[in-house]
């Protein structure tokens, strides 16, 4: 078995271990009356053991891929997102040992699983580095920034637990609606995975010629039925569907098609779940969160921002500026990715000030943490794939 295959197998092992870990942490929470119970500890220990095994396998993936390619595997969308998933699990393990609660693992692992699934939808081949990425700052900047984001994400995880426990789902409210919207978003990501895997298994392909925004002839291959056509498209594959609408050159119709299919699949999936269980998804998940100690969740959320914020600052702003100064001749250039890193930073700065000086703790704090994670995800997904400046991958 060569390094690349070994690396792939290790990643798969990690994925399975995280699934098992989720179930074990679930057992820990289910069997206990509250945070400090004995059952919590026993199942929790099992859960954390399996999670650590998964994390080590994941780390093995990272190292073997690094050895195979000769550069840190953080250079494209698949690699970065997979590394982010790994660091998220790493952060969850750290917080398990700081606070000994299986709840963080129970909620962090499924999110990490979704992130890994999302990552696997991008091309997984090992790519050589373009000149701009040929620097040791790639390793330093990207890993530190991702670590900071992973630690900050823990605050969203416990924030979600806090909200699930404390929002009254029996009464109609804005909070209930938004909480359900978060659940829906997660299902849409699942929808994206399902639909991508589905069309891939069916071997769907539709090639088009089109005219890009620089008025150049270009080619594009869809792997899903083309709902939207690129600018002045011209079908090259026979027997595929005709796009429903043509998009102007500045809109990437392929991305829009993928997005629309994901929303369709996610929505169907969501209503199926609602139909079968006759409950909101938040209600389905709530029993797992009711045993949480709110004060502890709030504390963990605040602590993870305190630990993650300096790491994020160092990685996503300071190291970024040093590298930008070396590679692009200026330490700051208002590139969209840079701007969104700054926005993330400002947002968490606001979180800290609101908490310290205006007493935004508990519920408000939990909402802010969830929004913070949404900003991080926006920077990862939308800024890379839609806005696309100097940082666009793949």
């Amino acid at each position: 078995m060569n390094l690349v295959d070994l690396s792939g197998n290790l990643l798969f092992t990690a994925f399975i271990a995280y699934l098992a870990g989720t179930i074990l942490f679930g057992g820990a929470v289910k069997g206990s009356k509250n945070e400090a119970s004995a059952s919590n500890k026993r199942w929790g220990k099992l859960g954390i053991t399996v999670t650590i095994i998964g994390f080590l396998a994941h780390l093995g993936y990272f190292i073997t891929r690094w050895m195979a390619s000769g550069h840190a595997p953080v250079s494209n969308m698949f690699e970065f997102t997979t590394a982010f998933g790994m660091l998220l699990v790493g952060a969850a393990i750290l917080f398990y040992f700081l606070y000994k609660t299986p709840l963080v693992g129970l909620f962090a692992l499924p999110i990490a699983l979704v992130i890994l699934g999302y990552a696997a939808m991008f091309p997984r081949d090992i790519q050589p580095l373009i000149p701009a990425l040929q620097s040791h700052w790639l390793t330093i900047h990207v890993i530190t920034a991702a670590l900071g984001e992973a630690i900050l994400a823990i605050s969203a995880v416990v924030g979600l637990i806090y909200l699930l426990k404390n929002i009254d789902l029996t009464k109609k409210s804005k909070e209930r609606k938004w909480l359900e919207f978060i659940m829906y978003t997660l299902v849409v990501v699942l929808g994206f995975i399902v639909i991508t895997v589905g069309f891939r298994a069916a071997g769907y392909e539709a090639a088009f010629d089109y005219v890009d925004k620089n008025d150049m002839q270009a080619e594009v291959v869809y792997h899903m039925p083309p709902l939207f056509g690129m600018n002045e498209y011209n079908a090259k594959t026979e027997g595929t569907m005709d796009p429903l609408a043509e998009m102007p050159p500045i809109i990437n119709a392929k991305t829009l098609t993928t997005f629309t299919w994901s929303v369709i699949a996610g929505t169907i999936l969501y209503f199926l779940i609602r139909l079968i269980t006759r409950r909101r998804i938040a209600e389905l998940v709530k029993p797992l969160a009711v045993k949480a100690n709110s004060q502890l969740m709030d504390e963990i959320g605040y602590r993870s921002v305190l630990i993650g914020f300096p790491v994020f600052t160092l990685g996503a702003l300071i190291f970024a500026m040093i590298w930008a100064h070396e590679a692009w001749s200026r330490f700051w250039g208002w590139d969209p990715k840079e701007v969104w890193a700054l926005i993330t930073w400002l947002f968490y700065a606001a979180y800290l000030h609101l908490r310290l000086s205006r007493g935004w703790e508990g519920r408000k704090s939990a909402w802010l943490a969830v929004i913070g994670f949404a900003i991080i995800m926006f920077n990862l997904v939308a800024v890379n794939l839609v806005i696309a400046g100097l940082h666009s991958y793949a």
Binding site: A36, S69, I126, I250, P310, L346, G389
Partner: protein
């Protein structure tokens, strides 16, 4: 200024919430709270006490955290809006020409683009209002640091050991109870706390244990760092602090470095490489197949020259400083100047060779090579044949009023007006020669200039920067990071333990953050010294959360 006299007799400045001496609540607001507001240890902050003059009002405006957070959010939203469409400096032309810019936004983004550009959102980060917001944030950072930092410093410096029981009772961690031997318990507690590296002070049967006070200065240190950073950014606007130039340099050329008097650069060759199946490791083969061309290197080999100090202007005796290969991520560095590989043009024409031929017989009367950088006026081919270059159009762009036009001085599409003289045609024939095009403006010729070959070279696009503000920026960033770590990874923890009159012992604890760790330490002390049990007065769920044996197995 008026002052408030506490029951203990201490005179506190107006606006104090908690008596700085004994710790009793003073203000009605503070008295109504179940737990003490320990943010600034109850000290009076300037903005709460001075509210009369205009200066006070401005001060209070900027010292308000509400305003501070509002400014942060405003900058955040503005920054986000600026990423909806590319900013002017990322569009072709860089926004130098206003009409062209407007056209670009209209052509590419329609009516939305037009509005976006018209509102100035296309150059948002350079707009006066965005800079004003950042400036306001800077002022807010200064004011808030002075407003809160100084009273907090004073308050923590003059802490009294024996705080009033009401102060202890109003702490989040609090416990009281009967113990057999209060003095022994206090002694053992002090021992344990010392072991936990607390500084212990004792007075009148009361004990104050404290550690990590310096963590409280973290926010003020990081604010200072940010102020220095913003100051550094502002310095850039001053002339001489910031050089930002770019230049094109052809292979073989020696040019003065723009923005750097006395420095000359020679382009010894440009290299552009791509990854291929042959030259790369096999692990990449799949990706190269899928993606196609992937660049692997952009490189300009240069020699840097400098005229010696004191040399006459325009003197040519420059000395070689060094030879260097500029690649992406590895700029050439010299005396604060950084020269970056930013762009390139492959295969620009440098010379063209033509043969003078008889159109009918095809007989060649000789060849001439026109150096496009330095075209000669006359080319003598010998045997009485010569060619005169009447005019040269480096970037031929069609005719206007019968006159050939050139768009730029760059030889992208060279065209020539030649006069050919041969023994057969001593009066000369005029021919206009462009790429794939020959015109004979003054009637049919017997001779023509047939294109033979062209020589090309590459052109490197380099950027020259010098940024004298970097040391200030680095200093600001470093101080900010130190302050951030100081305030985030270290905690200020305090315990107060005292005997009360009826033989009971009271214990209270406070920390700036990380209450779980504080509780762990207090648990250890409680167990070792036999202190009365304490509760977290904030945690409503804690009572139901004590360890229990819910499952027997």
């Amino acid at each position: 200024m008026s002052s408030i006299k506490c029951e203990c007799g201490h005179l506190n400045p107006e606006g104090t919430d908690i008596c700085q001496n004994c710790g009793r609540p003073l203000s009605t607001e503070e008295k109504s709270k179940k737990l003490a507001d320990m943010r600034y240890d109850g000290a009076a902050i300037r903005s709460k006490t001075h509210q009369r003059t205009v200066v006070d009002k401005i001060w209070n405006f900027f010292s308000s955290v509400k305003i501070g957070v509002s400014i942060i959010i405003a900058i955040l939203v503005a920054a986000a809006v600026g990423t909806i469409l590319p900013q002017v400096f990322y569009i072709p032309g860089g926004g130098a020409n206003e009409a062209q810019t407007a056209q670009y936004y209209e052509d590419n983004y329609g009516i939305f683009g037009q509005i976006y550009n018209a509102l100035g959102l296309s150059d948002l980060y350079g707009s006066w209002w965005f800079m004003t917001l950042v400036g306001m944030l800077g002022i807010s950072l200064v004011v808030v640091s002075l407003d809160r930092g100084i009273p907090l410093y004073k308050s923590l410096k003059n802490q009294r050991v024996d705080r009033h029981p009401s102060f202890l009772k109003r702490q989040r961690l609090y416990g009281e109870g009967q113990v057999d031997d209060p003095d022994a318990v206090m002694k053992k507690a002090a021992e344990k706390l010392k072991e936990q590296r607390y500084n212990i002070r004792e007075k009148n049967g009361a004990l104050l244990a404290e550690k990590g006070r310096w963590a409280r200065w973290g926010p003020y240190v990081n604010h200072l760092g940010l102020i220095i950073f913003l100051f550094g950014v502002m310095l850039r606007a001053l002339p001489g602090f910031y050089v930002d130039e770019s230049m094109w340099i052809r292979e073989g050329e020696i040019l003065a470095v723009k923005g750097a008097p006395g420095l000359y650069l020679e382009n010894k060759g440009f290299t552009f490489d791509v990854y291929t199946q042959e030259n790369t490791d096999e692990v990449f083969s799949e990706a190269i197949d899928r993606v196609g061309t992937v660049a692997s290197n952009y490189q300009t080999d240069v020699a840097l020259y400098e005229t010696p100090e004191g040399a006459l202007p325009g003197s040519t005796n420059a000395e070689l400083v060094k030879e260097y290969s500029i690649v992406v991520n590895k700029p050439l560095k010299h005396e604060g100047f950084h020269i970056f590989q930013m762009d390139f043009k492959l295969d620009e024409l440098s010379a063209m060779t033509f043969a003078l031929e008889n159109k009918e017989t095809g007989e060649s009367l000789g060849e001439l090579t026109v150096n496009l950088d330095d075209p000669q006026k006359d080319y003598d081919l010998g045997n009485g044949a010569k060619v005169e270059l009447l005019d040269y159009y480096p970037d031929f762009d069609g005719f206007e009023n019968g006159e050939p036009q050139t768009k730029t001085p760059v030889p992208n599409n060279p065209a020539f007006l030649f006069k050919m003289t041969t023994p057969e045609t001593p009066e000369g024939e005029t021919s206009f020669v462009a790429i794939r095009q020959t015109l004979e403006p003054l009637g049919e010729n017997t001779h023509k200039l047939a294109f033979q070959k062209a020589e090309t070279r590459d052109v490197s696009g380099l950027t020259i920067r010098k940024d004298k503000t970097i040391p200030v920026i680095v200093l600001g960033g470093t101080i900010f990071m130190i302050g951030l770590v100081q305030g985030s990874y270290f905690n200020h923890r305090r315990f107060w333990i005292r005997k009360s009159e009826n033989g009971q012992v009271m214990v209270a604890g406070h920390t700036s953050k990380n209450w779980v760790a504080l509780q762990r330490e207090l648990d250890a002390v409680t167990e070792y010294a036999g202190l009365p049990a304490y509760t977290d007065q904030r945690d409503k769920e804690a009572q139901t959360d004590k360890p229990e044996g819910d499952s027997k197995s």
